[in-house]
Symmetry: C2
């Protein structure tokens, strides 16, 4: 990996056109040829970049560019598209290269999958007498997160989200529409379960007779000692 701190301007032409005026920035050139342009703030997202696969070449600045103070120019061309990144360097403050080797990669634990597992394990969170049918109940249009039965023996389809948005309600609606065509299952009720449910989503759900349940991740985790060993 090559790390350069330089006063530079950057131009990107591809899916959109973008320009970075002259300023001091960090330029990162990765082993796969990808280039990242970072400022000293913002978020993890670079101001501008070129994704792999691509090729980076140091080219001669034009006469006009030289007159403007450009001492070096990078031309980064994406291999599979017309995306181009051009970096015009006016001053180099630092330039070093390092051999990092291949990264073993990130190990992740739980997100929505864990919410689903916890709720399936404690399905009575939805109400007295609820029992699990199965997780990831497959249908023609995709898997229903949880299928269960309520105290009356009626089938209930549960859609789980970390953040409950309108599109989650739409998704559950499509499942319910399909499931209710099956005479063996029909009638199937819907539950929209999320850690946080947006007001618009709640309104839409209620309008369609879908019950909303707010999930307390910490409480669900606390109910179950066996998850403790995972942490």
């Amino acid at each position: 990996m090559r790390v350069v701190i330089a006063r530079c301007s950057v131009d990107y032409v591809g899916r959109l056109t973008a320009h970075l005026p002259l300023a001091t920035r960090l330029l990162m050139v990765k082993a796969d040829g990808s280039v990242l342009v970072h400022s000293d703030g913002g978020s993890y997202k670079p101001l501008n970049w070129m994704a792999p696969p691509c090729r980076m070449a140091e080219v001669d600045p034009s006469d006009d560019e030289r007159e403007d103070g450009v001492i070096a120019a990078w031309a980064v061309q994406h291999t599979k598209s017309e995306d181009r990144l051009r970096v015009l360097i006016h001053e180099v403050l630092h330039d070093s290269s390092h051999d990092l080797g291949i990264d073993p990669g990130l190990v992740k634990d739980g997100v929505e999958a864990q919410l689903q597992a916890l709720l399936a394990q404690h399905i009575q969170t939805l109400g007295e007498g609820y029992s699990l049918i199965r997780r990831e109940y497959m249908t023609a249009i995709g898997p229903v997160d949880i299928m269960c039965r309520n105290a009356d023996g009626a089938t209930v389809a549960v859609e789980i989200k970390r953040r409950g948005d309108i599109d989650g309600v739409e998704q559950l609606t499509r499942y319910l529409e399909l499931l209710n065509r099956d005479p063996h299952l029909q009638p199937v009720a819907g539950v929209f379960a999320a850690q946080q449910i947006k007001p618009q989503a709640r309104t839409l759900a209620q309008d369609r007779g879908i019950r909303c349940v707010t999930l307390d991740y910490e409480a669900l985790k606390g109910m179950d000692d066996s998850t403790a060993r995972l942490f």
Copy 2:
């Protein structure tokens, strides 16, 4: 901005739990305290990070950690949540700091806005005799991208996307439902226009009587000489 190349392991606890085994990586500490952990490949996304606002502190490794070869430890704590990032450093290969100043920021040109402008300008792309009513037609649930009239004088609501997905069809469906309650407008037809329309979205749209139109961005741009000056 501080740039460190180090052999390190990283642990994140917050919205999820994640671990990076010992390896050589680039650590970036920005002026706002945010920390980025980059490998020598992948994409512009760091392997791990802490978003601002947060505080970074160099702390003493525990005795156990010291025995494992840890020579320094970073504790990064998010200011507004319980998110924590811990970096255990085993070897420092590079460490430098640089004053970058405030970045003037990125200047972007067009994406979906441009598609919308171009289609509005060449509304006959949708068919002979089409005429524009207006762009960004406001309704109680949001703006319809384009409202126009077809050859028969009937009102047509157009939803424009770069990538036509199911949620775009759902969005247009909600608009049409609302618009068709207005006796002055009713009946309102729907057109789902996108550069690329996913099969599932197309099926759903057709099922609801919504016409799908694939937009050719380059062709639209070519129809109009006046856009040339923008590039």
